[in-house]
């Protein structure tokens, strides 16, 4: 099954190589890996999805912790989380097809970000399944080019993750950690 890890690492040169090298070395198969900045300049955050069973997932976590630059690993596979992927899709859109494509984009709450005489480029953000869905519907029109970022993930609720949790001083006292709103 696909496991999703949030991995907090020191923001230093070469750390991505160390993580990627670990997955190669131990023959763990990466499905998707994204990396970017966080609210702390010294910390980068990776979202990694890997096809692994329960024991393998434990070993991946343990091996990640062996990397000196890895600060925190959280397996959020079975936890409530917001998971988002972003795709840009260039679709062939001749005069007749154009309105159909635009309609589909609207239904999926996707945005048209570039218009050319014979094509449209659509930007869509969402869970992977949503993007897969749009992609399937666009395919008959001719998908000329597609690029996806891979997923980023965040736990639901107001409880922050991370190596040193943010102090909740700015929060209202009655805020319940377990309440969240899908929007």
């Amino acid at each position: 099954m696909l496991n999703t890890f949030m991995v907090y690492v020191e923001n230093k040169p070469g750390v991505l190589t160390r993580v990627a090298s670990l997955f190669r070395r131990r023959a763990f198969n990466i499905d998707s890996l994204t990396v970017g900045r966080t609210e702390k300049p010294e910390v980068s955050r990776m979202t990694i999805t890997v096809d692994a069973d329960f024991d393998q997932a434990r070993r991946i976590e343990a091996n990640l912790y062996k990397l000196v630059n890895v600060l925190l690993v959280e397996n959020i596979t079975n936890q409530p989380a917001i998971v988002r992927d972003l795709a840009m899709i260039r679709v062939a859109a001749s005069h007749e097809a154009r309105s159909h494509v635009l309609e589909l984009a609207n239904v999926f709450r996707a945005r048209v970000v570039d218009v050319a005489p014979e094509s449209l480029t659509i930007e869509i953000t969402g869970a992977e399944e949503k993007i897969d869905g749009l992609l399937e519907l666009l395919r008959p029109y001719g998908v000329l080019e597609m690029v996806r970022t891979g997923i980023v993930a965040m736990r639901r609720g107001s409880k922050s993750s991370g190596p040193a949790p943010v102090k909740e001083t700015t929060m209202h006292s009655e805020v319940n950690d377990n309440v969240s709103y899908s929007v």
Binding site: V9, E10, G14, T17, R59, A62, N63, V68, V70
Partner: protein, 600 residues
């Protein structure tokens, strides 16, 4: 170091001198030093007395600054030798060994030694020069991306491009190398980082490793589960590994075994962790382990793995491994848990601390029935008193090693072996009573390890008698280090077990490749003459009666001695569990040659 006359000197690559003294914000007087000077200063502060190395262009600033340091530099003949020496130094002393080399080929020559240390969890720090930081990535002369090359074979590695990073990096490297599960750390320092200057502030350069957690300990519930398994077990075995020695838990393991009445089987790297003469000691397990040890493990109802990692050479086929046994795994590295063998209770932490926690709650249980049944398993095959055999006219490696053990058993002897048949015979016929008395490459199985590792061991323990036991194949991989041995004036004894073959490979060809001895016969030089060329005393022995006098003569001689033992060419290590076979499925000696009694 407080020479005021030097104040007017410009900052140079001289390193150690303190040209400019001025207070920092806290009123502390800080010295301005070169990166090279800081490097040696920090090594000294980390307790380093000796480094093993080989100079070259990109590391020259560091070598130039060596003159200010109290550290002794051992000039090796090949950088692989430097890493094995640092490794042998670490294994003999328990301290961090240090190797140093230049960029490019100097650095890549270290790769085998680093991988050897990685697989056996040996704390070494390797320092390599690197081309100037502005040249990195330009394929400059002798440029290699050595941090990239060594990424999967180091515990951690660093590229240092500024003098100001040197102090913290060295402190972190030593901390990482020696803490938790030890391992090799490489520091790659650019030439300009060695040459440029900065203020040296040891205190401020404290390690900053927010993600590094070497100190783990089990939860109380896990202790309780382990105790329940131990108390309910009728047929338990302790699997004693290298972790005992690393953790310094020899005494605790002995107390535990005696208190709970549990017999102890050892891995190759565990030899010496539990006294060979102890009544609860079973001997070595695994591919060339004793038959009764492997049978005991297969029949056990509880395995207590102490600082070992269920390597394929000790488990045989995992599907049939100890099928009726529950498993308790005491291990410092969480990534080893459930890696090869699924365990029932993992206790992740330092072995000694875990045992100290466990000990007061362990009940003393009479397990004489189990111990008696193991004794019956031993049968006659336990008798290995080859000294009582009539002289068949053949000299076997077992004779040499057993005689050597008899001669040196009372002393403070360190045996350093290479890899192959002689290594397995050493494990079977040399009885180790003390930790760190056997130094051998287990995980990586690095031929050529013995001679340089012995040099490291002798440098670490000058008062110990050091014997190299090495095959004629492995010896020729690193025999250039004979010159290092002579240059350092080290009294090391070298016993070449010379059978004219790559013996272990030949044995596999005999068993599994229809005796097609492809590329295993060796045409050897005259090793005695070779030794003479280096000014080393030598002997050539081919009769059994000559073994003891030769060993005695070598021990009495004040200097290094090389003995070329010409042994039976096609001898075989028994018993043997073929790769992938079940642990109890052993190939046994067809007819007794060196044992007094028949094997089963």
């Amino acid at each position: 170091m407080t020479n005021q006359d030097n104040r007017n000197h410009k900052a140079t690559v001289d390193g150690g001198s303190d040209e400019k003294n001025f207070p920092n914000t806290k009123g502390k007087i800080l010295k301005t030093m070169t990166g090279a000077g800081i490097l040696w200063e920090c090594l000294e502060r980390e307790g380093v007395r000796v480094v093993f190395g080989y100079p070259g262009g990109a590391i020259l600033p560091a070598y130039d600054a060596l003159k200010h340091s109290k550290i002794h530099h051992v000039l090796v003949r090949h950088e692989q030798g430097a890493t094995h020496m640092a490794d042998g130094y670490a294994r003999a002393s328990g301290e961090v060994g240090v190797a140093i080399a230049t960029s490019g080929p100097g650095a890549t020559n270290m790769v085998t030694g680093i991988a050897t240390a990685m697989l056996d969890s040996i704390p070494i720090v390797c320092i390599t020069g690197q081309v100037g930081s502005k040249l990195i990535g330009s394929d400059a002369f002798q440029e290699t991306d050595i941090t990239g090359v060594t990424l999967p074979i180091t515990k951690h590695n660093y590229l240092v491009t500024h003098a100001s990073e040197v102090a913290r990096t060295v402190r972190e490297a030593f901390y990482v190398a020696r803490s938790g599960r030890p391992g090799p750390v490489l520091i790659d320092i650019t030439k300009d980082a060695q040459q440029s200057t900065c203020e040296f502030d040891w205190e401020a350069a404290r390690p900053q490793l927010p993600g590094y957690r070497p100190d783990l300990s089990p939860a109380p519930a896990e202790y309780a589960e382990a105790l329940e398994l131990i108390h309910n077990s009728k047929r338990p075995v302790i699997l004693a590994g290298h972790g005992i020695i690393v953790s310094g838990a020899m005494r605790e393991v002995r107390d535990f075994a005696e208190r709970a009445g549990i017999p102890v089987a050892l891995t190759l790297l565990g030899l010496g962790a539990f006294p060979a003469s102890h009544p609860l000691n079973l001997g070595m397990m695994g591919m060339h382990g004793e038959a009764w040890v492997n049978h005991t493990i297969q029949e056990a109802d509880l395995l207590l793995a102490f600082g070992m990692r269920f390597d394929d050479r000790v488990t045989g086929n995992l599907k049939t491994y100890a099928p009726n046994a529950k498993k308790i795994h005491i291990e410092i590295d969480p990534a080893e848990i459930n890696k090869n063998v699924k365990v029932d209770v993992p206790l992740v932490g330092d072995l000694r601390e875990v045992l100290l926690e466990l000990m007061p709650k362990v009940e003393s249980i009479d397990r004489s029935e189990w111990l008696d049944s193991i004794d019956r398993l031993k049968g006659d095959s336990a008798v290995r008193d080859i000294q009582n055999l009539p002289d068949s006219g053949h000299l076997y490696a077992a004779h040499v090693i057993n005689d050597l053990w008899r001669q040196t058993r009372d002393g403070k002897t360190i045996v350093v072996t290479d890899v192959g048949q002689h290594q397995m015979w050493e494990a079977q016929y040399y009885k180790h009573e003390h930790p760190r008395s056997l130094i051998t490459s287990g995980g990586l199985g690095t031929m050529g390890f013995a001679l340089p590792a012995a040099i490291g061991a002798k440098v670490a323990c000058p008062d110990s008698e050091v014997w190299v036991i090495v095959g004629d194949g492995g010896f020729q991989m690193t025999m250039c280090e004979l010159a290092t041995l002579v240059q350092e004036n080290l009294k090391i004894h070298i016993a070449i077990i010379n059978n004219g073959f790559l013996g272990m490979v030949r044995q596999w060809q005999e068993f599994f490749y229809d005796r097609n001895y492809a590329a295993t016969p060796l045409l050897n030089p005259d090793f005695a003459k070779l030794a003479e060329a280096y000014g080393i005393r030598s002997m050539t022995i081919s009769e059994r009666s000559e073994v003891v006098p030769a060993v005695q003569s070598a021990r009495e001689y004040d200097g290094p001695v090389l003995i070329n033992f010409k042994v039976e060419q096609e001898d075989t290590v028994y018993p043997m569990v073929a790769a992938g076979a079940a642990l109890h499925d052993m190939i046994r000696r067809p007819s007794p040659i060196v044992e007094t009694a028949e094997d089963e």
